[in-house]
């Protein structure tokens, strides 16, 4: 009985804590504190854990020497090229496949088999075929993007209601008009989601490809850091790939919301 009154007090405190804005920052702050403490008291050797300050300093050094921007630029360029080409190809392919029954009967089985090929496992194959230059990296990103976008577009087109095409018939639309004013706007939400998933997939594959074979790029920076046992450089790379992955995803979500404003009204 004596313990009973404390429970509401505690739960009220917990409620109040949960309601505050900063409550989500508690665990990251604790982790950072623990990390600093661990390095300060030298709980672990420097090869295993470097202090947050040292990571920050490494980032500053890499940024000042311009090295970081070079790596970042190269990686983003590869991502943009492969992802751009892959999504355009996926969009065109998906619309064609979704609209044409006969094309589907020719291509669909092969498409479904090929899209099962894990992209990461294809990296060595692509290296042998295209060499370790830029072509290989752009193609591997392209592959990762194409199948995800193609599938999302295809599914979205197939899911379109027949009513739309009937309306188009009444208005005597040409095929291109059907695609432009009916198909593309109505599949846009599903496609944007597919494209966003493809983007994060593409980013992961690119980092993997750069880890394995590259002379520049964020992945190569990390790999080099690992070989030299520079944990601080590796940490900078890990944090940066995370931040980029996060911003790309967040940016796409914002874009999705902006483009889909009409849907809410």
């Amino acid at each position: 009985m004596a313990a009973a009154p404390t429970t509401p007090v505690r739960s009220r405190l917990v409620e109040r804590w949960l309601a505050t804005r900063w409550s989500a920052w508690v665990s990251p702050a604790l982790l950072l504190a623990l990390w600093s403490l661990a390095t300060w008291l030298e709980w672990m050797p420097e090869q295993i854990l470097v202090s947050p300050l040292q990571v920050l300093r490494a980032a500053q050094e890499l940024a000042q020497s311009g090295e970081l921007w070079d790596h970042l630029g190269v990686s983003l360029y590869r991502l943009a090229a492969g992802f751009g080409l892959g999504s355009i190809a996926g969009l065109v392919f998906g619309v064609l496949l979704g609209l044409s029954q006969s094309l589907r009967s020719y291509l669909e089985p092969s498409f479904h088999v090929l899209r099962q090929l894990p992209t990461v496992a294809l990296i060595p194959l692509f290296i042998l075929v295209f060499g370790i230059g830029e072509t290989f990296k752009i193609f591997i990103v392209l592959k990762a993007t194409f199948f995800v976008v193609g599938l999302a577009v295809h599914d979205a087109v197939r899911g379109l209601s027949l009513r739309y095409t009937e309306v188009a018939k009444i208005y005597c639309f040409t095929r291109w008009q059907v695609v432009r004013s009916i198909v593309l706007p109505s599949i846009a939400p599903a496609v944007l989601t597919g494209v966003r998933i493809a983007l994060s997939r593409a980013w992961m594959v690119l980092v993997g490809a750069e880890l394995l074979a590259a002379e520049s790029g964020l992945g190569q920076m990390m790999e080099l850091g690992r070989q030299m046992f520079r944990l601080d450089i590796v940490m900078v790379g890990v944090l940066l790939t995370g931040v980029i992955g996060f911003s790309l995803d967040r940016g796409f979500r914002l874009l999705e919301r902006r483009l889909m404003r009409w849907k809410r009204s």
Binding site: V14, W17, L18, S23, A24, W25, V26, S27, P28, L31, Q47, I48, S102, S105, Y106, L107, E108, P109, S110, V113, Q116, L117, P118, V120, A121, L122, I123, P124, L125, I127, L128, V129, S200, W203, M204, V205, V207, G208, L211, L212, L218, G219, M222, E223, G225, R226, F229, L231, V234, M235, G237, V238, L239, T241, G242, V243, G245, F246, D249
Partner: protein, 254 residues
């Protein structure tokens, strides 16, 4: 109608047939082309050779074992953490931010860090797989449990079930479809991560190591075989799991 569907099936086989034919044709256009387009006969020979030496079996066995043990560990951990996050808002507020920020780092991007922490050996490779299985199960478990209907929970309260009983009798069955979805993502992702880990931590047997070995020595036949096997195994595991899952969950019983 039957004839029509056969014709449709045949159309689907046309492209693979043309591609295979083109491949075989290209393999006979001089040695530089044969380097990339390994002839089907050579591929068959390599397969037989690797099978006979037992090497292929070793690679497949190692990779499968790594994937499945990592999957088991990661999924168990994921279900536990996901349940905790769904049941306790305090735990959710504490674990959530860390989980979501760690998840932003592409898995392969973590590999150099894991390499420095856990070395290049089996434990590092296993860790990658565990992480790959962990992420999707946490998300799907916590969402699945949150969506267990209030009336089912109320029945549990009426029956005065204990915490553990509520979990095993009410929450787990209710969230099972969602958990299984998460598990199927985890399965695909673990296989991928296993390959990535074996490729990037290049030591010891495994299909990923076989790929890398083929690449560095320029043996296209070995690389192709490994890719085909990896895809086939992914396909097989996925199919097997879906069949099992369908037998397990016979739709929502209302």
């Amino acid at each position: 109608m039957a004839l029509h569907s056969i014709a449709l099936r045949a159309r689907g086989l046309l492209l693979p047939a043309v591609l295979l034919g083109g491949w075989e044709w290209a393999s006979r256009q001089g040695s530089s082309a044969a380097y990339v387009f390994v002839s089907l006969a050579t591929l068959g020979d390599t397969l037989l050779r690797l099978l006979a030496s037992g090497e292929l079996w070793l690679h497949v066995h190692t990779s499968l074992q790594r994937t499945l043990s990592g999957l088991g560990l990661g999924a168990a951990l994921g279900i536990a953490v996901g349940t905790l996050m769904a049941q306790s808002r305090v735990a959710d507020r504490l674990i959530g931010p860390l989980y979501h920020s760690l998840r932003q780092v592409p898995l392969l991007g973590l590999i150099p860090l894991l390499g420095l922490w856990a070395g290049q050996g089996d434990s590092a490779k296993l860790l990658v797989v565990v992480l790959a299985a962990f992420y999707p199960t946490v998300l799907n478990t916590s969402e699945g449990i949150r969506q267990v209907e209030v009336r089912l929970r109320e029945v549990g309260q009426l029956l005065t079930l204990g915490r553990m009983q509520t979990f095993t009798q009410v929450l787990l069955p209710g969230a099972l479809p969602s958990i299984l979805t998460g598990f199927s993502h985890a399965l695909a992702f673990s296989w991928l991560a296993c390959m990535g880990g074996e490729l990037l931590f290049s030591a010891g047997p495994g299909l990923g190591a076989m790929l890398l070995n083929g690449e560095t020595t320029g043996q296209m036949d070995q690389v192709l075989l490994a890719v085909l096997l990896i895809a086939l195994l992914a396909f097989g595991m996925n199919g097997l799991f879906n069949r099992l899952a369908r037998r397990w969950v016979r739709g929502p019983s209302v």
